[in-house]
Symmetry: C2
Subunit: 127 residues, 2 copies
DNA sequence: CTCTGTGCAAAAGATTTGCAAGGTG
DNA sequence: CACCTTGCAAATCTTTTGCACAGAG
């Protein structure tokens, strides 16, 4: 495995994902990171988001529309509001056994599954 | 609701999604549709995929990377191979009750959930 | 000193959109 | 004949990449 350096930019991107709560997009990380490191470029943010998620230091979550990042590493499910597009964590435990079950049923090597619920959040329902 | 016409292009896009099995991307639909309707444009294919899925005549499925379309309308889960990127249906029944459960637990209006398993398919494991 | 990482800008890929012309009901 | 739809091209948006230079170890 290639040696990884710990540059200011890398550190800033990593910290920024942790500070932005609602599962930020790459662009949101870029905008926020620029406050601390004004001349960081979009390319660098994208590159570091990739490096960090390849290394397992952050998670890449795929919800309809756009990729988002998450500093919470344990497997868990998400809910996305189709009105405000906010993403939140869901209080339903991760069904680890589904992966094994599907492996046995199909002969595939199943590593993980991602579940995203869709609907309207409480705040948007009231409006 | 706006009146919808049934043009040759619209019909072709709809039929093409049904004919292409493995959960085609917009571009795959475009390439195939052009065989029957040579001067159909990409824009028209995209517009019609949107119209058809808004009308519930096809489903839009979100797997990592790219949007795909599906002519099978009943809720079901998918598996994507991280090597060949093929998408297949999964023999695990849809957990309708999860939506209600999450609604009760959170106060959100939960309409649906999407689950995508990731791993390596049998064919790619052998290679 | 070596090699990874950065900034910038250009490129790539997917999807949407403005507009004038065409076709459906 | 109203107005939905199409083709085309340009525009958007997100993400990647080539290159020369900077900087970490």
């Amino acid at each position: 495995m290639k040696q990884k350096r710990n540059t200011l930019q890398r550190k800033t991107v990593f910290e920024t994902v942790g500070e932005l709560h609602g599962h930020p997009t790459a662009n949101q990380v870029y905008l926020k990171a620029r406050e601390k490191c004004p001349k960081i470029s979009r390319g660098t943010v994208y590159r570091n988001l990739n490096v960090l998620s390849d290394d397992g230091r952050i998670k890449r979550i795929k919800v309809p529309g756009i990729v988002r990042y998450d500093s919470k590493l344990e497997p868990h499910y998400h809910f996305i509001c189709t009105v405000c597009h906010n993403v939140s964590d869901v209080p339903i435990p991760y069904q680890f056994q589904l992966n094994d079950r599907l492996s046995k049923d199909t002969g595939f090597k199943v590593n993980l599954h991602r579940t995203v619920f869709e609907g309207i959040c409480e705040k948007c329902r009231k409006e």
